[in-house]
Amino acid sequence: MQQPASPQLAATGLLTIRGAAGAWGIPSSVVQGVESCDALGRTRALDVQALLGAAPTTPGQATRIVVLQVRGQELRLLVHGVLALTETASSNLLPLPPAVRSATPLLSHVAVVDGKPALFVLSPERLLEVAHVEDPNA
């Protein structure tokens, strides 16, 4: 007797950051590493919280630099909060509607957990564009 095919949903890895300003994630496929944060590192990194319209990151023990590799270029993000690696079914990553994408272009998807929207997913490509605007030599 033939076994019924079990549905295999493609999984997407996310690095999630949960901080006082909210929770968000980034595809783990572009994450090269996580570094501790020193004063020099801070000056060379994009402050994600500030880019999202929240209060700029105040450096502390939970502050890290997340190093990304996007389209062959290194991108450094200043993040503050609890970092975790997680996997979610691709079907749980919902693209944002156009009106929201135009209002918050750094965000591409919302991750749903138990049917509830749980965190926003950053677009690495848009972050790269922002990095070029902030530093034309990047």
Binding site: L52, P97, V100, S102, L107, K116, P117
Partner: protein, 157 residues
């Protein structure tokens, strides 16, 4: 021709919304705040496998706006302005059909986006032009998406 309207309460104000644009009436739906969002479109809900914006009528009405973590008892899912949006309200009732002469020009109520008034529940309710409100928020033109039945998943109240 009769016009079907859904009574909904936001804060202390009962208003009427066109039933033909309401796709579902849900209970209180959890929503995720959009960082730096305007009060009229504060967040996102998940509905039928898609992310849809929350629009808060309390903002233009000058009522207490949705704050992070707060939900209202009912969520209207409306198809307007080429989009589907979630409209949290404090209560919703069954659809009422109004004849043209039951709908009068706005004279008693004083709410933005009011286009007419009607008597219901022994009071005067404003008929709110939700498509115009949503179109202004989303920056797009309003579009008639046609009629589909309303699915009510939560007890009206």
């Amino acid at each position: 021709m009769m016009r079907a309207l859904v009574p909904a309460r936001i804060g202390q104000a009962w208003v009427l919304l066109d039933a033909e644009i309401i796709r579902e009436i849900l209970g209180g739906e959890p929503w995720l705040p959009i960082p730096g969002a305007r009060a009229e479109m504060p967040g996102i809900v998940a509905w039928r496998g898609r992310a849809i914006p929350v629009v808060d009528l309390a903002a233009p009405f000058g009522f207490e706006r949705l704050s992070t973590g707060e939900t209202r008892a009912r969520t209207l899912i409306a198809a307007v302005a080429e989009s589907v949006v979630a409209v949290p309200v404090d209560a919703a009732r069954e659809v009422h059909a109004f004849s043209p002469n039951e709908l009068r020009p706005v004279s008693v109520t004083n709410l933005p986006y009011a286009v007419a008034e009607a008597e219901l529940f022994e009071r005067t309710l404003a008929v709110i032009d939700l498509p115009r409100f949503v179109a202004e928020i989303l920056g797009g033109a309003s579009l008639d998406l046609g009629r589909e039945g309303i699915v009510i998943h939560a007890a009206a109240g």
